[in-house]
């Protein structure tokens, strides 16, 4: 019996510690300690509800527009505002740009260094990894694309800023749509950038993914799923266009079903919180409690009908019928790249719908008391904001992020998707267990706001990952 501890797991957003128990060369148990607790739900109390759109973006620097989407939707629900078709389209264009930004950077900056030996002259790329399988020609080509992708990643944010004002942390997405009244030159600016991005994705990113998937085919059999997939839906519900991507739905054991928000609960059995063990999102926000003996993470355990669910690009691709129902580390990477292409197609359609000069803003009045829910599938999966307003102030705010679904702690019955994905994985070299990082990064974890706390009385003998 051996223990492996990896901390930090780099090339993710935020910090994550992995502890794995190895028996006969195979992972027998795993605990992923991630920390999303910065107390945002507490910090938001008594602030202006309108401020939540800009405030909650600061939860995450790589997926900030996602939070402005969820927060705007929650406010619209609370204020009984239905955005116009143009408002929806414009807002989804900004959100789509974030998908491109996130997926391109996740693939090249976060994933590629796991599989491709990047130029050694850069100390940033020093690695003790020794499982690099590409030919020198393939390595050189993808290394060059790593640097090309930096420029393209920048252009995705440039495209976002046309209607968003700036990125990260945009100003454009708001109740009703976006703040910018788009001009024809805005639209052509975005179309021009999109054609450059499309060229890169279709001609370089897709083939680079193919090269990696081909050389590391064993990863189609590692990092499997929990059997359950969920999406809140995105790029859907347009009056004129219908569904461009996916309506809210779930899949369990291969059977697709409609989604019902009333089936979401969250539990805190093994997370550093005290309060009610299991609750609905509008019910309560748990209090932090670091003294809890069996807890090992700040990440709570969201459940749908009591079960853990995987969320993200692969879940969406399977749910919309674009991808075979096969879940693994490499399938997640492949699906994310396919989805990048899909989002480009969607943006192409949406940009053609924009009516120059259209206005989507009003002066909004706050109700005395109200509550609202904003559910939306974002780059990493299902994101939910639940807000209550009392006397013009935020009285309650609950946030469940996609990485909380994927990196959820265990409950009385089962573990979360990311821990389950590690169990059963053969580790070739316990001193250099590259399999763990590759599997976990395939989820694109966003554990920003790292607040890493020791679990008292829980010392284990560990082998560190050594150089």
């Amino acid at each position: 019996m051996e223990h492996i501890l990896i901390n930090p797991l780099t090339r993710i957003s935020g910090f994550l510690q992995i502890e794995a128990t190895i028996n006969n060369g195979v992972i027998e148990d795993a605990r992923n300690s991630g920390f999303l607790f910065r107390g945002f739900e507490k910090i938001l109390l008594n602030r202006s509800p309108f401020d939540s759109v800009y405030f909650t973006q600061r939860i995450c620097g790589i997926c900030s527009a996602a939070h402005s989407m969820a927060s705007s939707l929650a406010l619209e629900d609370a204020l009984s505002i239905i955005p116009s078709e143009q408002g929806k389209i414009l807002r989804d264009i900004v959100h789509g740009c974030e998908f491109l930004q996130n997926h391109i950077r996740h693939f090249y900056q976060y994933t590629v260094p796991d599989y491709v030996r990047l130029p050694e002259k850069f100390p940033l790329f020093d690695t003790v990894g020794n499982d690099f399988r590409l030919s020198p020609e393939q390595t050189e080509a993808i290394s060059n694309h790593y640097f090309d992708s930096l420029k393209v990643g920048m252009q995705t944010h440039e495209m976002l800023a046309v209607l968003g004002g700036k990125a990260p942390h945009n100003h454009g997405i708001f109740i009703g749509g976006v703040t910018v009244r788009p001009t024809t030159d805005n639209v052509i600016h975005m179309k021009s950038l999109l054609s450059v991005i499309r060229d890169f994705v279709d001609n370089k990113m897709v083939s680079d993914m193919g090269v990696i998937a081909n050389a590391y085919q064993d990863y189609f059999h590692l990092g499997g799923g929990c059997g359950n997939l969920l999406s809140y839906g995105c790029f859907q519900g347009y009056d004129s266009l219908g569904t461009l991507y996916l309506q809210p739905c779930i899949m369990t054991d291969g059977v697709k079903q409609p989604f019902d928000a009333r089936n979401i609960t969250e539990s805190i059995d093994y997370a550093w919180y005290s309060g009610k063990d299991s609750y609905e999102p509008f019910e309560t926000v748990s209090e932090p409690d670091m003294q809890k003996q069996k807890a090992y993470s700040w990440i709570k355990a969201p459940r749908y009908l009591g079960k853990p669910f995987e969320v993200g690009p692969l879940a969406r691709q399977i749910l919309c019928g674009c991808y075979e129902n096969h879940v693994s580390a490499m399938d997640r990477i492949v699906a994310r790249v396919y989805e990048t292409h899909k989002i480009i197609e969607i943006l192409t359609v949406l940009l053609d719908q924009v009516v120059p000069g259209v206005e989507t803003q009003n002066r909004y009045e706050l109700p005395l008391r109200a509550k609202g829910m904003g559910l939306i599938d974002t780059t990493r999966g299902a994101l939910g904001h639940w807000m209550k307003i009392n006397e013009g102030k935020i009285a309650f705010y609950q946030i469940i992020t996609p990485s909380v679904w994927n990196f959820s702690t265990r409950d009385g019955q089962t573990q979360g998707p990311s821990e389950l994905s590690l169990i059963g994985t053969p580790i070739h070299d316990t001193y250099n267990p590259v399999e763990i990082g590759r599997i976990l990064r395939s989820f694109d974890p966003c554990v920003s706001c790292a607040t890493h706390v020791l679990c008292p009385g829980n010392e284990t003998k560990v082998y560190q990952v050594v150089s």
Binding site: T10, F50, G61, D126, G164, Q361, H452
Partner: protein
């Protein structure tokens, strides 16, 4: 255009010329992420002139960053440990969580023990050639220290005795960081104001150089987001926020918050967010 913009342009030209000749930068850069959103390293990747590739190829040996480095686990920690004996510049994003002796924020496991952000900062901060606080959280606590500040977050200057160059902003614009770094490498410390912000970026208020300033002067005010008037009556913090957004703009000079017909929320000013809220108000003045 005033003297500082011209200076910045000249500086960038000189950086390009000088650094492109010398392909072997000899100073290391460590970029720590502490309690924050990692949005400043993403913003750095958004830099265009110079861009990230230029930065790591011609300006500095970028050694350590959690989001971008290939190494993980102990190999990553050993890189951090070994840099202490070399000449290096330390950039920090995120606030320092001081609650519970820093144990609210552990950035890795070093020599069998958890390395708190607080300890890492003390280990690296005093010996660095320069320390740059990148973004609002590192400069003064930012969003991470917003009331009631559950993790007892502070800016990094509060836990270091040496001078820290402050680059507040949420996030920090890539040019503010790269321009400051370029000045440090070429000439040493840039001129700083009394809050230790580089004067070349933080000399003027947004209001002074806002593209909608003439609308303010004529009393043409926006009534809602998206209107073409001055954003003052919706709660714009441009009059109290010193930074060059109106002339530099964001994401390759594409746009900026007022350009998107929204108020400045004062993200580059000390006191953000608590002293800058409400960000949007439909009834500040009638």
């Amino acid at each position: 255009m005033n003297g500082y913009e011209n200076l910045t342009e000249c500086l960038m030209r000189e950086v390009r010329d000088r650094f492109s000749v010398s392909c072997k930068p000899d100073i290391n850069l460590v970029w720590l992420e502490l309690t924050g959103c990692s949005g400043n390293i993403i913003s750095l990747l958004d830099g265009s002139q110079p861009n990230f590739t230029f930065l790591i190829t011609h300006m500095i040996r970028f050694i350590y960053n959690n989001s971008l480095m290939a190494a993980e686990g102990n190999a990553a920690m050993q890189k951090l440990k070994s840099v202490v004996a070399t000449p290096y510049i330390l950039a920090v994003e995120g606030a320092v969580a001081t609650a519970n002796d820093g144990y609210y924020n552990i950035i890795g496991q070093m020599d069998g023990k958890p390395l708190t952000a607080l300890a890492a900062l003390k280990m690296l901060g005093e010996r660095a050639k320069s320390v740059i606080a990148v973004g609002a959280c590192a400069s003064h606590g930012g969003i991470s220290s917003a009331f009631p500040n559950p993790a007892h977050c502070v800016g990094i200057q509060d836990v270091l005795t040496r001078k820290v160059i402050q680059l507040p902003g949420c996030p920090c614009h890539p040019d503010w960081f790269v321009g400051t770094l370029a000045y440090l490498l070429l000439y040493g410390e840039p001129e700083l104001d009394r809050m230790n912000r580089p004067v070349m970026f933080y000399a003027h208020t947004i209001h002074d150089r806002c593209e909608r300033r003439s609308l303010f002067d004529r009393g043409v005010f926006a009534q809602k987001l998206g209107d073409g008037g001055c954003m003052f009556k919706l709660g714009c913090r441009g009059p109290v926020t010193r930074i060059d957004c109106p002339v530099r703009k964001w994401n390759g000079r594409t746009n900026w918050p007022v350009g998107a017909s929204t108020p400045c929320i004062g993200c580059a000013q000390f006191g953000f967010p608590d002293k800058m809220e409400p960000f949007i108000s439909y009834d500040t003045t009638k």
